[in-house]
């Protein structure tokens, strides 16, 4: 039952992603790959599309995956599921439990959750960068072109930070990487 799977999968995403934005991607990746909804390749494309279109990335991904798996109804179900936990939790906190966040047990749980999320995001980032540049861990196959693009991107981020005194926005980095991809791999 694809509708139920979409609902449960994205409910999990909505319940367990902290911090939003790119920090949410490792969990989405985990859920999406384990249900076999998208390939790793296709997911990366969608992350780029989600970044280049407005709105929260989690909502963008939920809508796309829902739509690709089960049409408009799938899109509606996945989007509702990803939004639902936030909506309910925030309502409960603002309406009834104004001090719930400060509760010592809740704080103890959060003190465990947050560093764990950080570790997961770090590991996923390292793994993705490594496989992009060197192929898989078992079949070591360095991609010189990819290495070149990676070096250009990191250098641009550092230079921008030094010169403009602020961070290069993710969308600018994606535009830059697309241009680099076309230049290096041809059109």
């Amino acid at each position: 039952m694809i509708y139920l799977e979409l609902f449960l999968g994205f409910l999990k995403v909505g319940c367990f992603t902290f911090g939003g934005g790119y920090g949410a991607i490792p969990l989405i990746r985990d859920v999406v790959l384990s249900y076999g909804w998208l390939s790793e390749e296709m997911l990366t494309y969608m992350i780029a599309v989600g970044e280049s279109t407005p709105g929260p990335i989690m909502v963008n991904l939920a809508t796309y995956i829902g739509s690709s798996q089960a049409g408009i109804l799938g899109a509606v179900i996945a989007t509702l599921a990803v939004v639902f936990p936030s909506f309910v939790i925030i309502l409960l906190i603002t309406a009834l439990l104004k001090t719930a966040i400060k509760n010592k047990y809740v704080q103890a749980v959060l003190r465990g959750l947050k560093p764990c999320v950080t570790g997961i995001v770090l590991a996923t980032g390292l793994y993705m960068v490594f496989t992009n540049l060197f192929g898989s861990v078992s079949v070591f196959n360095t991609d010189i072109k990819a290495l070149l693009i990676g070096a250009v991107l990191v250098l641009s981020m550092i230079l921008f930070k030094l010169i403009a005194k602020k961070k290069l926005s993710p969308i600018m980095l994606i535009v830059l990487s697309a241009a680099a991809g076309i230049i290096v791999y041809g059109c």
Partner: protein
């Protein structure tokens, strides 16, 4: 009713013109809801940011639900949240109908080979920001390192172990340590 429409349209506008989600949303919401509309105060906005960070889900949804509820109760929360989601939903739904054909073009496929590298770097960058913000104490550092190693192994060997289980274990460990260390008996509560 006019207020609900105003909430809906304001958040639809924020949803339509903010790229990237996450923390990028917060400054736009502050600009609209605190400075222009004066729906909430700057202090409330700060409180909300803390709550949004400590609760799961997209930050934009957390903020729109909070603001909507403050201004107009449950209907307000609903109007704001729906407003926030609608633009994304429509845009992505339309894209999803012809993305596959679009990806068959060689130039697009090559552009995405570059983008793939950028996405990895962006996730790593998000992790670095999270580490900077983290409390530099023994327990959180240890949990972070162990979870990171576990996640790397899960990825490398394609183990069938979800990151959600990893998070639940970390939460349980932290709670048990808190109870064993006698934290429950201390007065006050939050350490911050």
């Amino acid at each position: 009713m006019k207020l609900l429409l105003d909430l809906f349209l304001t958040f639809a506008k924020i949803g339509m013109f903010t790229f990237g989600g996450g923390y990028a949303m917060i400054s736009v919401i502050e600009n609209n809801c605190v400075e222009r509309k004066k729906w909430i105060t700057h202090d409330e906005m700060m409180d909300m940011t803390v709550v949004a960070e400590s609760t799961p889900g997209p930050i934009a949804i957390n903020c729109s639900t909070f603001t909507g509820y403050r201004i107009a109760g449950f209907p307000g929360a609903l109007a704001s949240t729906v407003g926030m989601v609608i633009p994304s939903f429509i845009i992505i739904f339309v894209i999803s109908m012809f993305l596959d054909n679009f990806l068959e073009l060689t130039v697009v496929a090559n552009a995405f080979r570059g983008i793939k590298i950028a996405v990895g770097i962006l996730i790593l960058d998000a992790a670095i920001n999270m580490i900077i913000k983290m409390k530099k104490k023994l327990l959180p550092m240890l949990i972070m390192i162990l979870s990171g190693i576990a996640m790397l192994l899960i990825n490398i060997f394609s183990w069938n172990f979800s990151s959600v289980s990893l998070m639940l274990i970390a939460a349980a460990v932290s709670l048990v340590i808190f109870l064993l260390s006698g934290g429950a008996k201390k007065k006050g509560g939050a350490e911050e």
